[in-house]
């Protein structure tokens, strides 16, 4: 008989889960979308992702060495941040810029705040914001349309877009993202000479064919903007595996759908096309993989609803009236700021506590 047993505090059994496992499972959930982008953009995707992940891993290791902390590259958190940075840049960007974006994400947004668990902002989105501010041209134009570019697959839109009058405002036709096209067309609505053309373009963008193309990824954009279907598959895996709270994507997507349906049309209330908004831009990536980031979202159920709806309202606002065609990343970053406040004001009434 063993003389002495190992003694620890209760409970003496634990669920087979760890931070490392959580991180690598989220990475696995991104794989379908990743493979799809490789299929769409070719080896460019591979180089961009290597630069992003490499930049993140090197930065993490350097900072942990500098702060004399344990090196924890194996936990997958820096790897995940790097991969998400890659999903947030267009495939044409210079590799060193991607690596720099990852370095900013890890060094400034994560490690300077105290490392894993202590950061306020989603590191990958902070990296994207940094790149948007530093290299706006690389981040928003020069899109490489996938092999089957959005406009070319949609003959009517393509024709409308090559019309010289339209080209005047659609300044980057061949490589425009659908949201870019929408923003430009909406701006042109106020120009009496262009109104008909603009209405026509918007009509085409909101058409069933265009929505399906967006859903299947036959559109231009950042790596993670072009694969709605595959992000949805990965996202559903996260929900089933309980690695993300369903309330966040449900609240976020639901809010955007409702608002764009109600107010996103050009012929009055409830003439918008919510599906177009759901499947374009970074919304799928944002709703399933960024807004659900555990560290930077609330811990209470009610708080998560508030956070998700807030993200949705901001995204809608930026898409409709903001200076950028897309608003997912800034919406989430803005809502990140409110997380401590939201947690503070959504403390649940504990069991048997009398509401005062």
């Amino acid at each position: 008989m063993a003389e002495k047993f190992y003694v620890a505090t209760s409970p003496h059994i634990k669920k087979n889960i760890s931070v490392t496992k959580v991180m690598w499972l989220v990475i696995a959930a991104l794989l379908p979308a990743y493979i799809h982008t490789v299929f769409l953009f070719g080896m460019k995707t591979v180089w961009v992702s290597l630069a992003a992940v490499g930049g993140a891993l090197v930065s993490e290791a350097l900072m942990q060495l500098l702060f004399k902390k344990k090196i924890t590259l194996y936990d997958g958190s820096a790897f995940l941040t790097g991969l998400l940075v890659a999903f947030n840049v267009p495939p044409t960007i210079a590799l060193w810029k991607v690596a720099l974006g990852s370095a900013f994400a890890i060094i400034v947004a994560k490690q300077l705040f105290g490392g894993l668990g202590y950061n306020i902002f989603n590191p990958a989105l902070a990296g994207r914001a940094f790149l948007m501010a530093s290299y706006p041209a690389d981040m928003t134009s020069g899109w490489s349309a996938p092999a089957n570019g959005f406009l070319s697959l949609n003959p009517a839109a393509s024709q409308a877009a090559t019309d010289p009058a339209v080209v005047k405002f659609l300044d980057s036709v061949t490589s425009a993202t659908p949201l870019n096209a929408l923003k430009t067309a909406r701006a042109a609505l106020n120009d009496p000479g262009l109104e008909d053309q603009a209405r026509h373009v918007i009509g085409e963008l909101f058409s069933g064919e265009s929505v399906i193309n967006a859903f299947l990824g036959k559109v231009g954009g950042c790596l993670g903007e072009t694969t709605a279907l595959f992000l949805l598959i990965g996202g559903l895996f996260l929900l089933v595996a309980k690695l993300a709270d369903w309330r966040v994507p449900a609240g976020y997507l639901g809010t955007v759908a409702l608002l764009t349906w109600a107010f996103g049309g050009i012929d009055g209330l409830f003439t918008g096309e919510p599906l177009f908004h759901l499947f374009t831009g970074g919304l799928m990536l944002g709703a399933f993989f960024m807004a659900t980031d555990m560290v930077t979202s609330p811990i209470t159920a009610k708080g998560r609803w508030i956070f998700a709806v807030g993200c949705g309202v901001l995204t809608f606002t930026i898409r409709m009236w903001g200076g950028y065609p897309e608003g997912v990343s800034y919406s989430i970053l803005l809502m990140n700021i409110f997380v401590p406040l939201i947690d503070r004001y959504t403390v649940p009434v504990s069991f048997g506590e009398v509401k005062s």
Binding site: F5, T9, S18, K21, M294
Partner: protein
């Protein structure tokens, strides 16, 4: 299905021992009977070294209101009173009795549910040293005699047995359903309650059928299935599941007109009243992956963990951890040697070293898993942060004292934070703070 909000579904581990009928263990040659086997003041020994005692004879007397009598579990001679290992307290005073032969029982009067009046009943329960056998070991006579201004309408019998691996209540309900039903009936009649409900988790269908059959002759008694979920057997959660009543924070089940007792306690009450038998033995599950074989025993109080383990088949080479009670709320033991079975010993579990989680803590990633499983609807991760930063009073404002220490939060935590330990630390610090404040007020007077 009836249930509460929150909670977890750990692997049940009951398949290891649920098919093993209760087996009465042979009499031990020597018993080590601690004087503290209940919540409250330790009992006071009334025997001396050299005294001859009969089985069932009182050897220690309740000291104060919240305390309980203790009886000899064998016939023999007191050979020592001293310090011995204790499964909950670490160490404690115990009376050691060497068995001289077969049982000669100390005689007590017997009653039936018809002949046993309220006063007799409470006297018997107190005299026979009955305490809550679910593990909390609160003196049963105290629980059964509420102050006159508290009206009790329901007695709930806890047959949830939500702790993984434990199967002794399940076996007891299957094999002694009639006696348990009568025990419940005694408690219902003598507390002025109208109803008795037995709550059983739905992973014990045989126990449910047997209890239903046994309760059917009595219109006061009901049996209900509750969802298999941990901690279904926690008092407040079981009350919520069965009646939707919420025991107020800091309050007792009595505040909502309810008394909760374990099925083992009801069985002990039956034996005390009908057979004049004090609490000298109990059902114990011996199980776990570290055991060569498993068993459900009826063991005498004061028999040792060492002997129960051997009698069940012995432990494997790779056994590395000994738990008294269930894996979620039980106590890890350093050794099984001379470690006595006490009234609260529901299980003796052996786990392999490989099975153990280890608590190499990594930073909280705010995943909120602890929040969604907390059956008391607290924010465990925030309580831990407050305790770590010594902000105890704020932790108090966040209802740290409502925590029932069920361990659901620590079970699901991906960062392996020992949340329960931090909460206990916080509660302890708060107790000290309020004691200090009370002392200050006294001084000011």
């Amino acid at each position: 299905m009836l249930t509460f909000k929150g909670g977890i579904h750990p692997p049940e581990g009951k398949a290891l021992s649920e098919h093993k009928p209760l087996k009465r263990l042979s009499l031990p040659d020597k018993v080590i009977i601690p004087l503290s086997q209940h919540i409250g003041a330790p009992a006071k020994a009334v025997v001396q070294v050299g005294d001859e005692v009969l089985t069932g004879q009182k050897i220690a007397e309740a000291a104060g209101t919240i305390s309980a009598n203790i009886h000899s579990s064998v016939t023999g001679k007191v050979i020592g009173i001293g310090e011995f290992p204790h499964p909950v307290a670490g160490r404690g005073t115990a009376v050691v009795i060497e068995r001289s032969g077969e049982d000669r029982f100390f005689e007590y009067p017997t009653y039936t549910v018809e002949t046993c009046g309220r006063e007799d009943f409470l006297k018997i329960v107190a005299e026979m040293g009955i305490v809550g056998l679910g593990g909390a070991t609160f003196p049963t006579h105290v629980k059964l005699s509420p102050p006159s201004w508290k009206k009790v309408d329901t007695v709930i019998l806890n047959g949830a047995e939500c702790e993984p691996y434990l199967t002794c209540d399940d076996r007891l309900m299957q094999e002694e359903s009639r006696k348990i039903a009568l025990g419940l009936l005694l408690m219902v009649k003598n507390t002025g309650a109208e109803t008795g409900i037995v709550g059983i988790e739905h992973n014990k269908p045989e126990a449910y059928e047997k209890m239903k059959e046994a309760c059917s002759p009595y219109k006061e008694l009901k049996v209900a299935l509750v969802k298999t979920k941990y901690p279904q057997g926690a008092e407040k959660q079981l009350i919520d599941s069965l009646t939707r009543r919420k025991v107020p924070a800091g309050g007792l089940p009595l505040d909502v007109g309810i008394i909760v007792q374990n099925v083992g306690t009801a069985f002990a009450v039956y034996e005390a009243v009908y057979e004049g038998k004090p609490l000298i033995e109990r059902a114990v599950t011996v199980s776990g992956e570290g055991m060569k074989d498993t068993a459900n025993f009826i063991a005498r109080i004061g028999d040792t963990y060492e002997r129960l383990i051997d009698e069940a088949g012995g432990m494997k080479e790779e056994a590395g951890c000994l738990i008294s009670g269930g894996p979620m709320m039980g106590f890890a033991q350093v050794t099984a040697r001379q470690l006595p079975v006490i009234k609260g010993t529901s299980g003796i579990l052996l786990f392999t070293r490989k099975q153990l989680p280890g608590y190499e803590e990594s930073p909280c990633i705010s995943c909120g898993a602890c929040v969604s499983v907390c059956p008391m609807k607290l924010l465990p991760t925030q309580l831990v942060t407050l305790v770590k930063n010594k902000r105890f009073e704020e932790a108090g404002d966040m209802n740290i004292n409502s925590c029932i220490e069920c361990g659901s939060c620590a079970y699901v935590c991906p960062s392996r934070i020992p949340l329960v330990q931090y909460v206990r630390l916080g509660k302890g610090a708060l107790r000290k703070i309020s004691a200090r404040e009370r002392a200050k007020k006294e001084e000011a007077k």
